[in-house]
């Protein structure tokens, strides 16, 4: 009885509930073909870019890369679609989560938690087009060891590259 009422409601406003897998019924019933398919594509992009960015990619860049791949639904991908797809992926286990850096959102596609210090460093880098300096971290009152440990950690994961010319660190994922 509920279904038929809803169907009538939908047809009144001109929406075919079965046609759009992104629609109301899809979410309610978990018919998430759109999100599972999107999830697969997200995994592909993350794996392809992981060697250069260490497993961090902005949602913005992800949307842009997904927009380029085939599929008529791709131009509909919004950042909250990414969020929903990631939520489904994380059900499959560790390794996909959203991390915030300043005003940006990053998708982390490697297992393990980024510590608060890591995300703070990414925060700082996001304000300067991906650039991170020791001075900035010192300005926040971080002692030398804490700075070194954070930078070393991010370097080890290839999430940070170093420019020796002026001892600056760069997050490829946040580089514009």
């Amino acid at each position: 009885a509920v279904v038929s009422t809803q169907s009538t409601g939908c047809s009144k406003i001109g929406v075919d509930p079965l046609a759009s897998s992104k629609g109301f019924w899809a979410q309610l019933l978990g018919v998430g073909d759109f999100y599972y398919e999107l999830g697969v594509q997200i995994v592909e992009v993350c794996l392809a870019t992981r060697p250069t960015n260490g497993g961090l990619i902005t949602v913005e860049e992800l949307c842009a890369k997904l927009g380029k791949s085939s599929g008529k639904t791709r131009k509909d991908v919004q950042s909250d679609d990414i969020g929903r797809a990631i939520a489904k992926l994380s059900v499959l286990g560790d390794g996909f989560k959203i991390v915030k850096a300043g005003k940006q959102q990053l998708v982390q596609s490697v297992p393990g938690e980024l510590s608060m210090d890591h995300t703070t460093a990414l925060d700082v880098a996001s304000k300067y087009g991906g650039q991170l300096t020791i001075e900035e971290l010192e300005r926040m009152g971080w002692p030398e060891l804490r700075i070194k440990s954070t930078l070393d950690n991010l370097l080890d994961q290839s999430m940070l590259w170093v420019d020796e010319v002026n001892s600056t660190y760069w997050v490829p994922a946040l580089f514009k």
Binding site: P51, T52, G54, L155, D156, S158, W161, V162, D163, E164, V165, T168, Y169, W170, P172, F175
Partner: protein
Amino acid sequence: KQWYQRRVREPWQYSFPPFFPIQPIVKTKEQQLASWRSLICDYHQHHRKWEVDRVVFENGRISRRLSPAAQRVVLQDLCDQGQGIMEGERCFVLWKTVAQWGSLIHGWVSERGLTGTVLTLFEIHSGDDTEGQPFYGMDVWLLQHVITALGKEGKAELMMGESEDFSDAGVKFY
């Protein structure tokens, strides 16, 4: 210096300052060197340059360049991966492998029904008949190297002329 033309898409790394110093973390360095190999091959293939043009090692726009030491690391890696070959001080870029070049040249020779005849190296790299071919304009040292490799498979025989620089050398294909 804008050496990338519109048709060749500039890789994002080329504007990324840390792309120029060799990265200390091994995993990152490996990725960096892979990007350099691809950038070097793309540039040389696009511009049909056989010997390394060091202009690729510098990006004036961000005031960065590979140091001489870094250049050595990059070129050594290029050669180790089979995409470059050193001859003394000269480094040649192999956007196709020696085997691929051999196969192309031998294929062209067979198609023209020229197996069994003697050709000069000059005819192959600068002859009227080879003008549209991918190996047209190939540096003569590289060409003799490719032919020597074919020789090891019994597909060609290099014939030295009087000069050591291969300018009057010939080849017979089988």
